[in-house]
Symmetry: D2
Subunit: 150 residues, 4 copies
């Protein structure tokens, strides 16, 4: 049996509060033995990957560009899409379920793609209200929910 692949999506820059939340989410995902999938850059992506590595997890970063050095230091495996925004679709497509932490338009595009593909999406600290998503109130609940859905 292969590992579950859980996406953590969110902005490439974030404040310390969101960073801590993303790190906790990453930790919980790793504790449950799942692969953490993210966009490989900074902000929420980096914090989540950091969390996963602290718990000995494995992290996959699917990057928009073609340079391995753009990946944050917690990305174990890098897919260099060189496809710009279409990389968002690759992230969603490769996950069993996703947790969106806050996030702007890029994150909104991923949420929409996930809903279109019928994949569970849990929102944490989100500014978006979108039918079909599930709202969690803290990292533990978000991860609990996401594993309940898959």
């Amino acid at each position: 049996m292969f590992k579950s692949q859980i996406g953590v999506i969110g902005a490439g820059a974030c404040d310390e509060g969101l960073s801590r939340i993303a790190e906790s989410v990453g930790k919980e995902i790793a504790k449950r033995g799942a692969l953490l999938v993210c966009g490989g850059l900074g902000g929420v992506m980096e914090a989540a990957a950091h969390g996963a590595k602290e718990e000995g997890g494995t992290t996959l970063g699917i990057l928009p560009g073609s340079n391995r050095n753009d990946a944050n230091m917690y990305v174990d495996i890098a897919v260099l899409s060189a496809m710009g925004h279409a990389r968002n679709v690759l992230i969603v497509q490769s996950c069993d379920a996703l947790i969106a932490i806050d996030g702007e338009y890029g994150t909104l595009s991923e949420i929409a793609h996930a809903l279109k593909m019928g994949k569970p999406v849990v929102l944490l600290e989100s500014q978006w209200e979108i039918k079909g998503t599930h709202v969690a109130h803290d990292p533990a609940e978000a991860v609990e929910m996401v594993f309940g859905f898959i």
Copy 2:
């Protein structure tokens, strides 16, 4: 000088009211000499392309699959992406501005990508309320707005 490329996005199936709206939008775009870009399938895409052809316009359909016969009969030029949902990104990327008519999650993903890329998006009959978009109340106003932005 090349033609403006205006996207009309919306669901692959729609009722007659939306169909009439999409057709009017397509007509107005063609009257102004712009290229109509759409997803090439049915519903809003087909009605908009139909409208553009009634006014002697040119239509580009960017399809999710690889079969030319999936395109509606009003598509002059077909790009067969064979990229599934990533084709939504191609549509947005190839337009100067977009008009979203109603639409579900697929359309939401396109709106989000457009906002992320900084492209103007006008909503008609939309269920989505998203900061950064512009709301029009009828086809003429939508097309008027979209040409004002580019």
Copy 3:
């Protein structure tokens, strides 16, 4: 009935001899009422599009980047893929058949994709010898062959 879509592929820079050949190929394609599909940049792509426009044809350029201004001046309709090399796949996928004029590794990738997809490929002035392709000796023959295959 929709128009045939014929791809002309080749390097983004070329000498005058190849340029004249590409222009002739573009002319012949337009004379037969087909859409000319190319990568939208310079060299062979520009010369072929130029030829098509001289005969009143229509041209589609599928570009690797996201900037409309990268397209040569003979591109009527631009698809801005922003997908780098993956745009080669889009070109091939969107054509009924292709003519490769000389060309380096990028062209070789397109020839290979075309053969994999089962699309006819005619080579003109090619350095590549690949089973499954067809060799033409001048522009008229290349276009004759390509329309014979579709």
Copy 4:
């Protein structure tokens, strides 16, 4: 420091001889601590992934479709591109260097993309003769060469 990412490319079906070669290549890559990247399906891809797992390595499969169950059982991490042939570009883009084992047109497209991107390509049992590639005579030599290039 992140791991090297080495691609092994080849046909989705192969005879036992090629399978043994691919398995040896996978083993050698894993022994050197690199990530094995492949297309995730059968034949050469499966045999190489199998070899890597026998040596305790990690394997990434970048698939053309959207179904995790299409991946062979030795794929640890699956990227589901749902992009058909464009997935070949993703594979190449994500590798530091590649080893092509025999292979048909799909493999040829990957070799061409790799050369276009300036990535080292070593050929084993190849029917293709392409300037810019390097020919190895056995799995050990192929892996030796590939690590020499990166």
